[in-house]
Protein backbone atom coordinates (compact mmCIF):
# COMPACT_ATOMS: atom_id res chain seq x y z
CA UNK A 1 0.00 0.00 0.00
CA UNK A 2 1.43 3.38 -1.01
CA UNK A 3 1.44 5.81 1.87
CA UNK A 4 3.72 8.51 0.52
CA UNK A 5 5.50 9.81 -2.55
CA UNK A 6 9.08 11.10 -2.66
CA UNK A 7 9.34 14.78 -3.59
CA UNK A 8 13.10 15.17 -3.00
CA UNK A 9 15.21 12.06 -2.45
CA UNK A 10 17.93 13.52 -0.22
CA UNK A 11 21.60 12.62 -0.60
CA UNK A 12 21.28 8.87 -0.17
CA UNK A 13 18.04 7.54 1.27
CA UNK A 14 17.69 3.76 1.38
CA UNK A 15 15.35 1.17 2.88
CA UNK A 16 17.09 -0.71 5.72
CA UNK A 17 16.06 -3.28 8.29
CA UNK A 18 18.41 -5.23 10.59
CA UNK A 19 20.07 -6.90 7.58
CA UNK A 20 20.66 -10.46 6.41
CA UNK A 21 22.84 -12.53 8.68
CA UNK A 22 24.39 -15.90 7.87
CA UNK A 23 25.24 -15.48 4.19
CA UNK A 24 28.78 -14.15 4.40
CA UNK A 25 30.13 -17.47 3.13
CA UNK A 26 28.44 -16.62 -0.19
CA UNK A 27 30.02 -13.19 -0.22
CA UNK A 28 26.76 -11.52 0.82
CA UNK A 29 27.26 -8.71 3.35
CA UNK A 30 24.89 -8.16 6.21
CA UNK A 31 23.77 -4.65 5.25
CA UNK A 32 20.94 -3.25 7.39
CA UNK A 33 20.85 0.01 9.33
CA UNK A 34 24.32 1.50 9.84
CA UNK A 35 23.06 2.63 13.27
CA UNK A 36 21.01 -0.34 14.54
CA UNK A 37 20.23 1.33 17.83
CA UNK A 38 18.55 4.30 16.14
CA UNK A 39 16.60 1.95 13.84
CA UNK A 40 15.30 0.08 16.90
CA UNK A 41 14.36 3.30 18.73
CA UNK A 42 12.38 4.70 15.79
CA UNK A 43 10.55 1.40 15.29
CA UNK A 44 9.74 1.09 19.00
CA UNK A 45 8.08 4.51 18.99
CA UNK A 46 5.60 3.51 16.29
CA UNK A 47 5.00 0.02 17.72
CA UNK A 48 6.86 -1.85 14.96
CA UNK A 49 9.04 -4.88 15.56
CA UNK A 50 12.48 -3.39 16.32
CA UNK A 51 13.97 -4.75 13.10
CA UNK A 52 11.24 -3.55 10.72
CA UNK A 53 12.45 -1.72 7.62
CA UNK A 54 12.66 2.06 7.80
CA UNK A 55 14.21 4.83 5.74
CA UNK A 56 17.88 5.51 6.39
CA UNK A 57 18.69 9.09 5.38
CA UNK A 58 22.31 10.15 4.90
CA UNK A 59 23.60 13.67 5.70
CA UNK A 60 20.73 15.35 3.84
CA UNK A 61 17.26 13.90 4.17
CA UNK A 62 14.32 13.54 1.77
CA UNK A 63 11.04 15.39 1.38
CA UNK A 64 7.89 13.32 0.95
CA UNK A 65 4.16 13.86 0.69
CA UNK A 66 1.81 11.52 2.51
CA UNK A 67 -1.03 10.04 0.46
CA UNK A 68 -2.66 8.33 3.45
CA UNK A 69 -2.74 9.02 7.18
CA UNK A 70 0.29 7.55 8.88
CA UNK A 71 2.12 7.45 12.19
CA UNK A 72 5.88 7.95 11.96
CA UNK A 73 8.91 8.64 14.16
CA UNK A 74 12.43 9.95 13.60
CA UNK A 75 15.67 8.98 15.30
CA UNK A 76 19.43 9.39 14.96
CA UNK A 77 20.90 12.59 13.52
CA UNK A 78 18.74 15.72 13.79
CA UNK A 79 17.85 16.83 10.25
CA UNK A 80 15.50 19.61 11.42
CA UNK A 81 12.46 17.84 10.07
CA UNK A 82 9.16 19.62 9.55
CA UNK A 83 5.63 18.39 8.90
CA UNK A 84 3.46 20.88 6.96
CA UNK A 85 6.09 23.49 7.83
CA UNK A 86 5.97 22.83 11.58
CA UNK A 87 9.04 21.44 13.28
CA UNK A 88 8.82 17.81 14.38
CA UNK A 89 11.29 16.41 16.86
CA UNK A 90 13.27 13.19 16.88
CA UNK A 91 12.26 10.50 19.37
CA UNK A 92 8.53 11.24 19.32
CA UNK A 93 5.48 9.84 17.53
CA UNK A 94 3.94 12.06 14.88
CA UNK A 95 0.69 11.67 12.99
CA UNK A 96 0.48 12.75 9.37
CA UNK A 97 -2.66 13.22 7.28
CA UNK A 98 -3.02 12.66 3.55
CA UNK A 99 -1.49 15.63 1.73
CA UNK A 100 0.92 16.54 4.53
CA UNK A 101 4.52 17.15 3.51
CA UNK A 102 7.40 15.83 5.63
CA UNK A 103 10.65 17.66 4.87
CA UNK A 104 14.03 16.75 6.29
CA UNK A 105 16.98 19.10 6.06
CA UNK A 106 20.66 18.44 6.62
CA UNK A 107 22.35 16.99 9.67
CA UNK A 108 24.90 19.23 11.37
CA UNK A 109 25.99 16.54 13.80
CA UNK A 110 25.84 12.82 13.06
CA UNK A 111 25.32 11.30 9.64
CA UNK A 112 22.12 9.25 9.56
CA UNK A 113 18.48 9.74 10.42
CA UNK A 114 15.92 6.94 10.53
CA UNK A 115 12.28 7.44 9.65
CA UNK A 116 10.07 4.57 10.80
CA UNK A 117 6.46 4.29 9.67
CA UNK A 118 3.83 2.26 11.57
CA UNK A 119 3.57 -1.04 9.73
CA UNK A 120 7.13 -0.90 8.37
CA UNK A 121 8.42 -0.02 4.92
CA UNK A 122 8.04 -2.64 2.17
CA UNK A 123 10.72 -3.49 -0.39
CA UNK A 124 12.39 -6.20 -2.46
CA UNK A 125 13.35 -9.18 -0.36
CA UNK A 126 16.65 -11.02 -0.81
CA UNK A 127 17.73 -13.79 1.58
CA UNK A 128 15.17 -12.84 4.20
CA UNK A 129 15.85 -9.11 4.42
CA UNK A 130 14.73 -6.07 2.47
CA UNK A 131 17.83 -4.04 3.31
CA UNK A 132 19.21 -2.21 0.31
CA UNK A 133 22.73 -3.23 -0.72
CA UNK A 134 23.64 -0.64 -3.33
CA UNK A 135 26.78 -2.28 -4.83
CA UNK A 136 24.78 -5.38 -5.86
CA UNK A 137 21.59 -3.41 -6.54
CA UNK A 138 19.49 -5.62 -4.31
CA UNK A 139 16.82 -5.12 -1.63
CA UNK A 140 14.78 -1.98 -0.91
CA UNK A 141 13.35 -0.09 -3.86
CA UNK A 142 14.81 -1.96 -6.85
CA UNK A 143 18.17 -2.12 -5.11
CA UNK A 144 18.80 1.61 -5.27
CA UNK A 145 18.53 4.79 -3.28
CA UNK A 146 15.18 6.58 -3.41
CA UNK A 147 14.44 8.92 -6.30
CA UNK A 148 11.89 11.62 -7.02
CA UNK A 149 8.35 10.24 -7.50
CA UNK A 150 9.16 6.86 -5.92
CA UNK A 151 6.21 5.45 -4.03
CA UNK A 152 6.78 4.57 -0.39
CA UNK A 153 5.01 1.29 0.30
CA UNK A 154 4.00 0.01 3.72
CA UNK A 155 4.55 -3.65 4.61
CA UNK A 156 1.47 -3.80 6.86
CA UNK A 157 3.28 -5.41 9.80
CA UNK A 158 1.21 -5.78 12.93
CA UNK A 159 1.99 -3.03 15.39
CA UNK A 160 1.92 -3.15 19.17
CA UNK A 161 1.72 -0.44 21.82
CA UNK A 162 4.52 2.06 21.27
CA UNK A 163 7.55 1.79 23.52
CA UNK A 164 9.10 5.01 24.76
CA UNK A 165 12.70 4.18 25.49
CA UNK A 166 14.64 6.05 28.17
CA UNK A 167 16.47 9.04 26.69
CA UNK A 168 19.72 7.59 28.07
CA UNK A 169 19.61 4.92 25.38
CA UNK A 170 19.64 7.44 22.54
CA UNK A 171 23.00 7.62 20.79
CA UNK A 172 24.86 10.76 21.83
CA UNK A 173 26.04 12.40 18.61
CA UNK A 174 29.11 14.60 18.38
CA UNK A 175 32.08 15.40 16.16
CA UNK A 176 34.47 13.51 18.45
CA UNK A 177 33.96 9.80 18.97
CA UNK A 178 35.53 7.26 21.29
CA UNK A 179 34.89 3.72 20.13
CA UNK A 180 35.95 0.79 22.26
CA UNK A 181 37.78 -1.95 20.39
CA UNK A 182 39.47 -5.25 21.08
CA UNK A 183 42.70 -6.36 19.42
CA UNK A 184 42.13 -7.88 16.01
CA UNK A 185 43.39 -11.29 14.93
CA UNK A 186 46.38 -9.75 13.10
CA UNK A 187 47.33 -7.29 15.88
CA UNK A 188 50.68 -9.02 16.39
CA UNK A 189 51.68 -8.11 12.83
CA UNK A 190 51.86 -4.47 13.82
CA UNK A 191 54.98 -3.12 15.47
CA UNK A 192 54.73 -1.64 18.97
CA UNK A 193 54.82 1.93 17.65
CA UNK A 194 51.96 1.46 15.21
CA UNK A 195 49.89 -0.46 17.76
CA UNK A 196 50.40 2.22 20.44
CA UNK A 197 49.60 5.00 17.99
CA UNK A 198 46.44 3.20 16.94
CA UNK A 199 45.03 3.13 20.46
CA UNK A 200 46.08 6.65 21.44
CA UNK A 201 46.03 9.14 18.58
CA UNK A 202 42.87 10.50 16.98
CA UNK A 203 41.94 9.65 13.39
CA UNK A 204 39.96 11.84 11.05
CA UNK A 205 37.20 10.32 8.93
CA UNK A 206 38.12 10.80 5.28
CA UNK A 207 35.68 11.91 2.59
CA UNK A 208 35.95 8.37 1.24
CA UNK A 209 33.28 6.92 3.47
CA UNK A 210 30.09 5.05 2.75
CA UNK A 211 28.01 2.21 4.19
CA UNK A 212 30.85 -0.19 3.42
CA UNK A 213 33.39 1.57 5.57
CA UNK A 214 35.19 4.70 6.68
CA UNK A 215 38.74 5.51 5.66
CA UNK A 216 40.63 6.95 8.61
CA UNK A 217 43.52 9.34 8.38
CA UNK A 218 45.92 9.67 11.29
CA UNK A 219 49.26 8.28 12.38
CA UNK A 220 50.40 5.66 9.87
CA UNK A 221 49.26 2.19 10.93
CA UNK A 222 50.97 -0.37 8.73
CA UNK A 223 51.95 -3.96 9.38
CA UNK A 224 55.15 -5.69 8.34
CA UNK A 225 54.72 -7.98 5.36
CA UNK A 226 51.07 -6.96 5.06
CA UNK A 227 51.09 -7.17 1.28
CA UNK A 228 51.58 -10.93 1.39
CA UNK A 229 48.64 -11.72 3.69
CA UNK A 230 46.08 -14.19 2.40
CA UNK A 231 42.47 -13.08 2.16
CA UNK A 232 40.43 -13.85 5.24
CA UNK A 233 37.03 -13.06 6.79
CA UNK A 234 36.12 -9.56 7.95
CA UNK A 235 32.95 -8.24 9.60
CA UNK A 236 31.26 -4.94 10.36
CA UNK A 237 33.47 -3.35 13.02
CA UNK A 238 36.72 -4.79 11.67
CA UNK A 239 39.57 -2.30 11.31
CA UNK A 240 41.75 -3.25 8.35
CA UNK A 241 45.05 -1.54 7.64
CA UNK A 242 46.25 -1.44 4.01
CA UNK A 243 49.96 -0.88 3.52
CA UNK A 244 49.50 2.87 2.93
CA UNK A 245 48.83 3.08 6.67
CA UNK A 246 45.29 4.55 6.54
CA UNK A 247 42.96 2.03 8.21
CA UNK A 248 39.39 1.28 7.14
CA UNK A 249 36.63 0.84 9.70
CA UNK A 250 34.13 -1.52 8.12
CA UNK A 251 30.41 -0.81 8.56
CA UNK A 252 27.10 -2.51 7.78
CA UNK A 253 27.88 -3.19 4.11
CA UNK A 254 31.35 -4.55 4.99
CA UNK A 255 32.65 -6.93 2.36
CA UNK A 256 32.89 -10.50 3.67
CA UNK A 257 36.63 -11.01 3.16
CA UNK A 258 39.65 -8.80 2.88
CA UNK A 259 43.36 -9.07 2.39
CA UNK A 260 44.62 -6.39 4.73
CA UNK A 261 45.68 -7.10 8.33
CA UNK A 262 42.95 -6.72 10.93
CA UNK A 263 44.38 -4.59 13.71
CA UNK A 264 41.23 -4.28 15.84
CA UNK A 265 37.51 -4.97 16.10
CA UNK A 266 35.10 -2.32 17.39
CA UNK A 267 32.85 -3.89 20.02
CA UNK A 268 29.20 -4.52 19.19
CA UNK A 269 28.06 -2.17 21.96
CA UNK A 270 29.74 0.81 20.23
CA UNK A 271 29.53 -0.17 16.57
CA UNK A 272 26.17 1.49 15.93
CA UNK A 273 27.79 4.85 16.77
CA UNK A 274 30.20 4.40 13.86
CA UNK A 275 27.19 4.66 11.55
CA UNK A 276 26.86 8.29 12.69
CA UNK A 277 30.41 9.39 11.89
CA UNK A 278 30.66 12.16 9.29
CA UNK A 279 33.62 13.07 7.08
CA UNK A 280 35.98 15.22 9.15
CA UNK A 281 34.87 13.84 12.53
CA UNK A 282 37.60 12.69 14.93
CA UNK A 283 37.74 9.14 16.26
CA UNK A 284 39.74 7.58 19.08
CA UNK A 285 39.88 3.86 19.65
CA UNK A 286 40.05 2.75 23.27
CA UNK A 287 41.41 -0.73 23.83
CA UNK A 288 39.48 -3.07 26.08
CA UNK A 289 39.92 -6.77 26.72
CA UNK A 290 37.74 -9.40 25.09
CA UNK A 291 36.38 -10.34 28.52
CA UNK A 292 35.37 -6.73 29.24
CA UNK A 293 33.82 -6.44 25.78
CA UNK A 294 31.67 -9.53 26.43
CA UNK A 295 30.55 -8.08 29.74
CA UNK A 296 29.67 -4.70 28.21
CA UNK A 297 27.76 -6.39 25.37
CA UNK A 298 25.78 -8.65 27.72
CA UNK A 299 24.75 -5.71 29.93
CA UNK A 300 23.77 -3.41 27.08
CA UNK A 301 21.95 -6.23 25.30
CA UNK A 302 19.96 -7.12 28.44
CA UNK A 303 19.07 -3.48 29.13
CA UNK A 304 17.74 -2.80 25.64
CA UNK A 305 16.00 -6.15 25.32
CA UNK A 306 14.14 -5.39 28.56
CA UNK A 307 12.32 -2.66 26.62
CA UNK A 308 12.42 -4.16 23.13
CA UNK A 309 11.89 -7.92 23.11
CA UNK A 310 14.13 -9.78 20.70
CA UNK A 311 16.54 -6.89 20.16
CA UNK A 312 20.02 -7.98 19.19
CA UNK A 313 22.97 -5.69 19.61
CA UNK A 314 25.16 -7.20 16.90
Amino acid sequence: MTIARIVKPGLQTTVQDAGREGFRHLGVPRSGAADRMSLALANALVGNPWNAAALECTLKGPTLTFERPCVFALSGADMRASLKGKAVSNYARHEAKAGDELALGSAAVGARTYVAFAGGVAGDEFLGSISTYLPARLGGVRGRALRVKDALEIAGLETTAPVDMPASLRPVLAHDWVLRAVRGPDFEWFGGGAARAFFSAPFAADKRGDRMGLRLVGPPVAADGAASMKSGPVFPGTLQAPSDGAPFLLLADAQTAGGYPRIAQVIDADLHLAGQIRPGDRIWFREISTAEARDVAAKKQALIASFIPGFRLG
Binding site: H25, G27, F126, G184, P242, D268
Partner: protein, 230 residues
Protein backbone atom coordinates in the same frame (compact mmCIF):
# COMPACT_ATOMS: atom_id res chain seq x y z
CA UNK B 1 50.37 -34.04 5.07
CA UNK B 2 51.46 -32.42 8.32
CA UNK B 3 49.14 -29.56 9.15
CA UNK B 4 48.61 -27.39 12.20
CA UNK B 5 46.05 -24.86 13.35
CA UNK B 6 45.67 -22.09 15.92
CA UNK B 7 42.56 -20.32 17.19
CA UNK B 8 42.45 -16.67 18.26
CA UNK B 9 39.67 -14.31 19.35
CA UNK B 10 38.05 -12.26 16.57
CA UNK B 11 35.99 -9.67 18.37
CA UNK B 12 33.95 -10.51 21.45
CA UNK B 13 31.68 -12.97 19.66
CA UNK B 14 34.02 -14.51 17.16
CA UNK B 15 36.97 -16.85 16.76
CA UNK B 16 39.44 -17.19 13.92
CA UNK B 17 41.22 -20.46 13.13
CA UNK B 18 44.34 -20.32 10.97
CA UNK B 19 45.80 -23.28 9.15
CA UNK B 20 49.39 -24.09 8.25
CA UNK B 21 51.19 -26.80 6.39
CA UNK B 22 48.86 -27.28 3.43
CA UNK B 23 50.63 -27.72 0.10
CA UNK B 24 48.81 -24.83 -1.58
CA UNK B 25 45.93 -22.34 -1.35
CA UNK B 26 43.49 -24.68 -3.05
CA UNK B 27 44.10 -27.38 -0.43
CA UNK B 28 43.90 -25.00 2.54
CA UNK B 29 40.94 -23.09 1.09
CA UNK B 30 38.81 -26.13 0.39
CA UNK B 31 39.68 -27.50 3.84
CA UNK B 32 38.60 -24.15 5.33
CA UNK B 33 35.31 -24.39 3.44
CA UNK B 34 34.71 -27.91 4.73
CA UNK B 35 35.29 -26.73 8.32
CA UNK B 36 32.94 -23.76 7.81
CA UNK B 37 30.22 -25.97 6.29
CA UNK B 38 30.45 -28.27 9.30
CA UNK B 39 30.05 -25.36 11.74
CA UNK B 40 27.31 -23.43 10.01
CA UNK B 41 24.39 -25.53 11.25
CA UNK B 42 25.56 -25.40 14.89
CA UNK B 43 23.19 -23.95 17.50
CA UNK B 44 24.05 -20.31 18.17
CA UNK B 45 26.37 -20.01 15.14
CA UNK B 46 25.51 -16.89 13.15
CA UNK B 47 28.28 -17.07 10.54
CA UNK B 48 30.97 -19.53 9.53
CA UNK B 49 33.14 -18.00 6.81
CA UNK B 50 36.15 -19.52 5.09
CA UNK B 51 39.18 -17.54 3.98
CA UNK B 52 42.11 -18.88 2.00
CA UNK B 53 43.90 -20.33 5.02
CA UNK B 54 41.49 -19.48 7.83
CA UNK B 55 37.90 -19.74 9.06
CA UNK B 56 35.93 -17.28 11.16
CA UNK B 57 33.16 -18.44 13.46
CA UNK B 58 30.71 -15.86 14.80
CA UNK B 59 28.14 -16.71 17.42
CA UNK B 60 25.19 -15.22 19.23
CA UNK B 61 26.35 -14.93 22.87
CA UNK B 62 22.74 -15.28 24.07
CA UNK B 63 22.64 -18.80 22.64
CA UNK B 64 26.24 -19.97 22.70
CA UNK B 65 28.90 -19.37 25.33
CA UNK B 66 32.25 -18.11 23.99
CA UNK B 67 34.24 -21.02 25.44
CA UNK B 68 31.75 -23.56 24.13
CA UNK B 69 31.97 -21.93 20.71
CA UNK B 70 35.74 -22.29 20.80
CA UNK B 71 35.50 -25.95 21.81
CA UNK B 72 32.99 -26.58 19.01
CA UNK B 73 35.36 -24.88 16.58
CA UNK B 74 38.36 -26.93 17.68
CA UNK B 75 36.41 -30.15 17.32
CA UNK B 76 35.21 -29.21 13.81
CA UNK B 77 38.78 -28.48 12.70
CA UNK B 78 40.01 -31.79 14.12
CA UNK B 79 37.17 -33.83 12.62
CA UNK B 80 37.35 -32.38 9.10
CA UNK B 81 39.37 -34.70 6.85
CA UNK B 82 42.58 -33.21 5.47
CA UNK B 83 42.58 -34.89 2.12
CA UNK B 84 43.37 -33.39 -1.24
CA UNK B 85 40.29 -31.58 -2.49
CA UNK B 86 37.67 -33.81 -4.03
CA UNK B 87 36.64 -33.96 -7.67
CA UNK B 88 35.76 -30.85 -9.63
CA UNK B 89 32.07 -29.98 -9.07
CA UNK B 90 31.63 -28.12 -12.35
CA UNK B 91 33.72 -26.38 -14.99
CA UNK B 92 33.00 -22.79 -16.00
CA UNK B 93 34.62 -20.90 -18.85
CA UNK B 94 35.09 -17.17 -18.35
CA UNK B 95 35.86 -15.13 -21.49
CA UNK B 96 38.24 -12.21 -20.85
CA UNK B 97 39.19 -9.18 -22.88
CA UNK B 98 42.73 -8.41 -21.66
CA UNK B 99 44.47 -5.03 -21.40
CA UNK B 100 43.46 -1.64 -22.76
CA UNK B 101 40.62 0.14 -20.98
CA UNK B 102 39.57 -3.18 -19.43
CA UNK B 103 42.87 -3.90 -17.70
CA UNK B 104 44.13 -0.76 -16.00
CA UNK B 105 47.16 -2.53 -14.49
CA UNK B 106 47.96 -4.65 -17.56
CA UNK B 107 50.72 -2.46 -19.01
CA UNK B 108 52.39 -1.71 -15.68
CA UNK B 109 52.40 -5.42 -14.84
CA UNK B 110 53.97 -6.29 -18.18
CA UNK B 111 56.72 -3.78 -17.47
CA UNK B 112 57.13 -4.87 -13.86
CA UNK B 113 57.28 -8.59 -14.73
CA UNK B 114 59.28 -8.03 -17.91
CA UNK B 115 56.68 -9.79 -20.08
CA UNK B 116 55.10 -8.81 -23.38
CA UNK B 117 51.32 -8.68 -23.70
CA UNK B 118 50.91 -12.15 -25.18
CA UNK B 119 53.13 -13.70 -22.52
CA UNK B 120 51.09 -12.16 -19.72
CA UNK B 121 47.82 -13.29 -21.32
CA UNK B 122 49.28 -16.75 -21.87
CA UNK B 123 50.44 -17.10 -18.28
CA UNK B 124 47.02 -16.04 -16.98
CA UNK B 125 44.78 -17.95 -19.40
CA UNK B 126 46.77 -21.19 -19.46
CA UNK B 127 46.10 -22.80 -16.04
CA UNK B 128 42.92 -24.49 -14.86
CA UNK B 129 41.86 -22.68 -11.68
CA UNK B 130 39.82 -23.93 -8.75
CA UNK B 131 37.36 -21.82 -6.74
CA UNK B 132 38.92 -21.76 -3.27
CA UNK B 133 36.20 -19.80 -1.55
CA UNK B 134 33.51 -17.20 -2.17
CA UNK B 135 33.81 -13.88 -0.44
CA UNK B 136 34.52 -10.18 -0.55
CA UNK B 137 31.30 -9.48 -2.50
CA UNK B 138 28.31 -11.58 -3.64
CA UNK B 139 29.61 -13.95 -6.28
CA UNK B 140 33.29 -13.00 -5.96
CA UNK B 141 35.46 -16.12 -6.06
CA UNK B 142 39.05 -16.52 -4.93
CA UNK B 143 40.76 -18.71 -7.51
CA UNK B 144 43.79 -20.88 -6.84
CA UNK B 145 46.16 -22.16 -9.49
CA UNK B 146 47.78 -18.91 -10.63
CA UNK B 147 51.20 -19.24 -12.23
CA UNK B 148 53.75 -18.29 -9.54
CA UNK B 149 55.35 -15.84 -11.97
CA UNK B 150 52.19 -13.73 -11.61
CA UNK B 151 52.39 -13.53 -7.81
CA UNK B 152 52.19 -9.76 -7.24
CA UNK B 153 51.18 -7.79 -4.15
CA UNK B 154 47.89 -5.90 -3.85
CA UNK B 155 47.81 -2.18 -4.59
CA UNK B 156 49.09 -0.09 -1.70
CA UNK B 157 45.94 1.99 -1.77
CA UNK B 158 42.79 0.21 -2.94
CA UNK B 159 40.96 1.80 -5.88
CA UNK B 160 37.72 3.53 -4.99
CA UNK B 161 35.97 1.89 -7.93
CA UNK B 162 36.71 -1.31 -9.85
CA UNK B 163 34.23 -2.15 -12.63
CA UNK B 164 32.06 -5.27 -12.48
CA UNK B 165 33.61 -8.15 -14.42
CA UNK B 166 37.17 -6.94 -13.82
CA UNK B 167 39.68 -9.79 -13.78
CA UNK B 168 42.40 -9.30 -11.21
CA UNK B 169 45.40 -10.94 -9.64
CA UNK B 170 46.98 -10.39 -6.21
CA UNK B 171 48.87 -12.38 -3.64
CA UNK B 172 49.21 -15.55 -5.76
CA UNK B 173 45.50 -15.56 -6.57
CA UNK B 174 43.17 -14.77 -9.41
CA UNK B 175 39.67 -13.38 -9.07
CA UNK B 176 36.83 -11.73 -10.94
CA UNK B 177 34.97 -8.74 -9.50
CA UNK B 178 31.32 -9.78 -9.57
CA UNK B 179 30.18 -6.22 -8.81
CA UNK B 180 31.55 -2.73 -9.21
CA UNK B 181 33.25 -2.07 -5.87
CA UNK B 182 36.38 -0.66 -4.28
CA UNK B 183 39.28 -3.06 -4.63
CA UNK B 184 43.02 -3.53 -4.31
CA UNK B 185 43.73 -6.28 -6.87
CA UNK B 186 45.75 -5.61 -10.03
CA UNK B 187 43.30 -5.52 -12.92
CA UNK B 188 44.39 -7.13 -16.20
CA UNK B 189 41.13 -7.56 -18.11
CA UNK B 190 37.35 -7.78 -17.96
CA UNK B 191 34.73 -10.44 -18.65
CA UNK B 192 31.37 -9.65 -20.25
CA UNK B 193 29.57 -12.36 -18.28
CA UNK B 194 27.77 -11.74 -15.01
CA UNK B 195 28.72 -13.78 -11.93
CA UNK B 196 25.91 -12.63 -9.67
CA UNK B 197 22.25 -11.89 -10.33
CA UNK B 198 20.12 -11.19 -7.26
CA UNK B 199 16.93 -11.75 -9.25
CA UNK B 200 17.93 -15.15 -10.65
CA UNK B 201 16.81 -18.48 -9.23
CA UNK B 202 20.42 -19.35 -8.40
CA UNK B 203 22.07 -15.94 -7.93
CA UNK B 204 25.61 -17.36 -7.64
CA UNK B 205 27.35 -18.70 -10.76
CA UNK B 206 30.48 -19.96 -8.96
CA UNK B 207 30.87 -22.33 -6.01
CA UNK B 208 33.83 -23.62 -3.97
CA UNK B 209 35.48 -26.55 -5.75
CA UNK B 210 34.39 -25.50 -9.26
CA UNK B 211 37.02 -25.41 -12.02
CA UNK B 212 37.52 -22.17 -13.95
CA UNK B 213 39.12 -21.59 -17.34
CA UNK B 214 39.82 -18.12 -18.74
CA UNK B 215 39.59 -17.71 -22.51
CA UNK B 216 41.00 -14.56 -24.16
CA UNK B 217 38.52 -12.71 -26.41
CA UNK B 218 38.96 -9.61 -28.59
CA UNK B 219 37.14 -6.37 -27.76
CA UNK B 220 34.54 -6.91 -30.52
CA UNK B 221 33.56 -10.20 -28.88
CA UNK B 222 33.45 -8.50 -25.46
CA UNK B 223 31.03 -5.85 -26.78
CA UNK B 224 28.85 -8.49 -28.42
CA UNK B 225 28.65 -10.72 -25.32
CA UNK B 226 28.09 -7.68 -23.11
CA UNK B 227 24.99 -6.76 -25.12
CA UNK B 228 23.71 -10.32 -24.89
CA UNK B 229 23.96 -10.48 -21.11
CA UNK B 230 22.17 -7.17 -20.62
Amino acid sequence: MKTAFSIAAFGERGWLARFEGFPDDVASGLFANAVADRLRAGEGVTDAVAGVDSVALRFDPARLDADDARAMFEEAVKKTPRRRPAAVTKTIEIPVCYGGVYGSDFDSLCAHLNLDADELIGLHAQPRYRVITLGFAPGFAYLGGLDPRLDVPRLETPRAQVEAGSVGIAGAMAGVYSLASPGGWRIIGRTPISLFDAGAKSPFVLEPGAEIRFSPIPESEFQKRRKETR
